[in-house]
């Protein structure tokens, strides 16, 4: 276990150390103080625990690393993540998991607007609620929301699957409720387990996805 204190090392030094780590390395980052771009571009099977709040793009483009934030996270957490795991103990700001291709994001608190925007294969589990326009143009992956969702959930969604426990203020264009089948209950149970959520049953969720009416341009749904 190695300690990196952002009061003593620069962001460049921190990221260089983390990016050049060996598989199995373990790091603790102190005094993050909401700084941007912490632990971006990691690509080893390593663990990083950040003891505090982080700013924009923490864990951006992560590959393989297991990153935990013991506080809140700013905009663009784990954007374009490819693999690995990112766990935030607090809440997160906008665009959480934007365009992420793989891996798992777990948010213990709430997520702000546009959570999972253009997600391309990542799994996102939010213990709380999510803001408006979440899962906008979501292409692939699974998105579990244990609380409520703001306006226009899943607007222009493609093939991503949304599991929502609470209510959506409104559904976006082409997003509809879909039947929960065994296959869905099974994958949802696995996702909840991955996030260590044991007090909520899969039966409390509804599934949402694409009506696929916007898939090919037609004058009758142009506006």
């Amino acid at each position: 276990m190695k300690n990196l204190d952002l009061n003593n090392v620069s962001l460049r030094e921190l990221n260089q150390e983390l990016q050049n780590a060996q598989n199995g390395a373990q790091y603790v980052v102190e005094n993050s103080n909401g700084k941007h771009n912490i632990a971006v571009g990691l690509n080893k099977e390593q663990s990083v625990t950040i003891n505090g709040h982080v700013g924009y793009y923490c864990a951006g483009m992560n590959q393989k690393a297991d990153i935990t934030v013991e506080g809140n996270a700013g905009s663009g957490l784990a954007e374009n993540m490819m693999s690995g795991k990112v766990h935030v103990k607090g809440g997160v700001s906008q665009y959480c998991g934007a365009t992420a291709h793989g891996g798992t994001i777990i948010i213990d608190g709430d997520a702000s607007a546009r959570c999972g925007i253009s997600m391309k294969g990542v799994d996102i589990v939010v213990r709380g609620s999510v803001g408006h326009m979440s899962a906008f143009m979501a292409q692939k992956g699974r998105f579990v929301i244990c609380g409520d969702a703001g306006n226009a959930l899943g607007d222009s969604i493609y093939e991503a699957r949304i599991y929502l426990r609470g209510k959506a203020q409104s559904l976006g264009a082409d997003c509809i409720e879909k039947e929960m089948q065994d296959e869905h209950r099974k994958e949802l149970a696995e996702l909840l387990k991955k996030a260590d959520i044991t007090d909520i049953s899969v039966d409390e969720f509804k599934r949402y996805g694409s009506a696929r009416k916007l898939y090919n341009f037609s004058v009758d749904n142009a506006y």
């Binding site: 990221n15 260089q16 571009g41 793009y57 483009m61 093939e159």
Partner: protein, 439 residues
Amino acid sequence: MSVNESWLLESKTFSKDAIREIQRAAKEGIYSIRGGGAKRFVPSFDDLVFLGASMSRYPLEGYREACNTAVTLGTRFAKKPIELKIPITVAGMSFGSLSAQAKESLGRGASEVGTSTTTGDGGMTQEERGHSNLLVYQYLPSRYGMNPDDLRKADAIEVVVGQGAKPGGGGMLLGQKINERVARMRDLPQNIDQRSACRHPDWTGPDDLEIKITELREITNWEKPIYIKVGAARTYFDTSLAVKAGADVVVVDGMQGGTAATQDVFIEHVGIPTLPAVRQAVQALKDMDMHRKVQLIVSGGIRNGADVAKALAMGADAVSVGTAALIALGDNSPELDSEYEKIGSKSGYYFEYQAGNCPAGISTQNPDLAKRLDPVLGGRRVANYLRCLTLEVQTLARACGKSDVHNLEPEDMAALTVEAAAMAQIPLAGTTWIPGKTT
């Protein structure tokens, strides 16, 4: 009864073209989508001329005296700036929009003459990376195919904020061009229309972009030059903000710039021409004391060496060619007229790039059509074309007495129209008059 055509008076408001468009809209109920750039007349580099050396200036000998064309891009922050042998690059065009053979050809051609080519919306292909010595990786709102491994393989990163054909607009790759490979690269099903968003998903405005660019630099070890590409609109402010956000290079694309598929109304009615955009971008850089420190690439309707020379003389460091490079590859060739006829078109008029039926094998994903394009021959044509442009720029520069094409300056030119004089802030030929500046 016979009609005497000379007595028929066409309405200037309801012209034949306007009537035909109303009739088309009434029939189809949808705007027309096409590729290419603005077809309408706009003031352009054609409205400027060079003042060759004479008694008051001293020319260089046309074929023998050296005239440098090399340029370095990304000197502001990047540890590894890009060194181009010629000031002409190949603009971003996606695999998906173009065939893999076309992308490979562009890479081969650009590499042969020591310049760069650029990916597009849809990610980096092996064909392209393998055959491009210098490859600029476009970072776009859709992030289709975007991954950090490819980002690290790139020689530069271009953050695309907009393009000249449609500043403020996103894109659409129609389902007929989405084959299995394109679909897989974009993480979407086959045969469905793929929308490219008009805004980036994880930043809004220049303050966010500054943080985003730091992220990109942190992930790529501060090695790669980072470009910001904007469609020409409020170019003075857009350039200033790009510099503020931390760009190494600003790319300004005028309204003549092409696209693969956009609404005709957007192509023709949004954005400003390349001519005034260059002047505004250079002005912004000069006002920030950043001219030549942050490099400027200009694109949008660049066709020949004269266009390149005039862009450089106005203060650009390099230009990009897109549509012209496709034409060099064989797009719109008269040899294909019988093929164009089958799809209701003709060489010189074919801009239905969205349809995926390109007889030249360029803007298509149909394997039978795509294999018509031989990447070695295509690469040779692109290289020939770029060489020709370079020779033309050198010819003009020497005639103005310059031993480096970047020494061309506004003072070397005159404007032929009042509009061009106003837009370029270059005196009207035969006068010292610059509208808005001198009386």
